[in-house]
Symmetry: C2
Subunit: 169 residues, 2 copies
């Protein structure tokens, strides 16, 4: 179990497919998105509920409904997706052991509880660096990287796959 969950991974892959041409479409149903990656439909649906609440996607209900990005892909960072799905769980949870030092015998002096624990400071600094790196990358950046790897035929084949599904259903 890692700090950044698989939900984030699924979510990012789905959002990449929603980032428009050349590699993806602009609107798709949860069913198609889930089946496209061999993941549980219900699970992906829960992810998109979170993404919607975070204001990253908008949903259109009813038949032929689906999700699309609420903003241009260049304005959605990886950090946004992480926070939307995993919440803001901290890298490190300080338990304030400094105030429980036996020397204080129960009642810690003011200076011990004041400010942020020194160890906590270091962890917060590291967390900050991590967040900066994640905030720097947007869906558009990721999309470009994928496009650079994949052959030119990949994008259209994905689009065709989705159209065939809705056609056969």
């Amino acid at each position: 179990m890692s700090h950044i969950s698989v939900g984030v991974e699924y979510g990012l892959h789905c959002l990449l497919h929603l980032s428009g041409p050349p590699t993806g479409v602009t609107v798709a149903s949860v069913r198609d998105l889930a089946d496209l990656q061999g993941v549980s439909i219900d699970y992906v649906a829960k992810l998109f509920t979170k993404l919607r609440k975070a204001g990253l996607t908008v949903a259109s209900e009813g038949k032929n409904g689906g999700f699309r990005l609420a903003k241009p892909a260049s304005e959605i960072s990886v950090l946004d997706v992480v926070h939307a799905i995993d919440g803001v769980k901290p890298l490190f949870e300080c338990r304030e052991v400094r105030v429980r030092c036996a020397v204080f015998d129960g009642n810690a002096p003011r200076w011990a509880a004041q400010g942020v624990c020194s160890i906590h400071e270091v962890m917060l600094e590291a967390e900050q660096r991590m967040h900066e790196a994640l905030a720097r990358q947007t869906l558009a950046d990721l999309s470009r990287r994928v496009d650079a790897k994949a052959p030119r035929s990949y994008g259209p084949s994905v689009v065709r796959w989705m159209e065939n599904r809705s056609g056969s259903a």
Copy 2:
């Protein structure tokens, strides 16, 4: 449950007390270290077993035994402690969903499985930034910060507390 466990927090606090004057001593038993912070003895013992295996501390067995740092505090980074106790668990565990894309229909082409997943790359970059921040801080740095906060009387009182314990026992 955060990515960096409470074990690391306990471990760091213990190691700080082992970082020598002015705030700490140079050798101490697990019992004293644990009681000093109101933490389970057995649990701290397990932590120190890991720290020993990682080569950060050395133990002297038998009566009046205990642990001391294997290296100067200035050569032990926070990252070393994190890795020693939590292991090297990754920030993000890529499940390679890219190769499971339904378009490939079971057998993914070479280009899809080649190299590192684009999403994974971003996560690795963030993890790297985090590690850099943790590697930059040593026990000596932390010790200095604590000393700057605590009054001059704190260090000696900790030492006295330990001596009283071994004296009364």
